[in-house]
Symmetry: C3
Subunit: 133 residues, 3 copies
């Protein structure tokens, strides 16, 4: 097993593509299962295509399904912050992916993305754990 | 690998925090990937903050997005039970988490929670599987 | 570790039960964690009961929550294709499951299903990766 946490700054950006950073972390001979984990209660991970509009579509879908509104019991920080705490139940903060020959075996159009609706905390951490097989 | 199933009684409680039980199951030297799995078709797992209102917010969000209504084809048991069967497509019954030194490497505000909307089956099982690395 | 990709034809079928195929892939002595992964940006995996109406319920739930409409930025192919690209953020393309004695330790009513709303690409691949423990 190899595990390491890295920090990144998301600011007000909802979606951050982590794929290049994860690829760089893997060594050429690595094979096994890679777990990507976000140790935050207001962020999740999604495997989506980036660069073709889905970032915007996911943003508006989240606003439609989990409105930034005063309907939440959990209240502190910015308006609608309660929905940031509900999101990880649907967009989980953990995903496990197959690795072979130092590459995550993603499809052509897939990217590993951090989904971070929280505008109050611009600093985020992501943990990578590889269990070799 | 070490794997074990434990039973718990949820009754009409939607969200049950499993974190303490999972911590207690881990031995001090354990490191690797922990899979938490619910062998039920009407329950899921969520990593959320507990004790600050998100349990209530997730409950009302589920009722809004998956209404307890007669719109489902899958019908038996209590009214709206069909939505309990749809929920695991969005709140999956499996999550894998990094473990090091006998601790799940959760963030400060994260708890591992069973989400069980099913009021007809108060007895639930959860399986923990640790693959050491 | 053992990993293999297989192809299947989904056509216009939203939900395909993969359980029998996965069971057949496992050898009698296999134990560990099985990762099921779909290398496509418009498909996901769900553990649901099949044969009792939930396929239809999930279909109508997806149409309600992610309408096949012209509200998406990501546009090409069939109408509403943009929602197919949003879906994997909620119905993730990866799930990890415990295996013991050559069997996935599913509950009685659980099946491992491919959820593929994309009608433009009838040919799909699924990757199975077993990390033995």
């Amino acid at each position: 097993m190899r595990t390491e946490e890295f920090a990144l700054r998301t600011g007000r950006t909802l979606i951050t593509d982590l794929t290049a950073r994860i690829d760089a972390w893997l060594a050429p001979a690595d094979s096994g299962l890679l777990n990507v984990f976000v140790p935050h209660a207001t962020a999740g991970l999604a495997i989506i295509e980036t660069g073709a509009g889905t970032e915007t579509d996911l943003d508006s879908t989240l606003e439609r399904l989990l409105p930034i509104d005063d309907i939440y019991r959990h209240r502190h920080g910015s308006r609608g912050h309660g929905r940031d705490h509900v999101m990880p139940a649907f967009v989980a903060p953990s995903i496990t992916l197959p690795v072979q020959g130092g590459r995550v075996l993603l499809g052509t159009w897939q990217s590993i993305c951090l989904v971070d609706p929280n505008v109050d905390n611009p600093d985020r951490r992501v943990r990578l754990t590889l269990l070799t097989g």
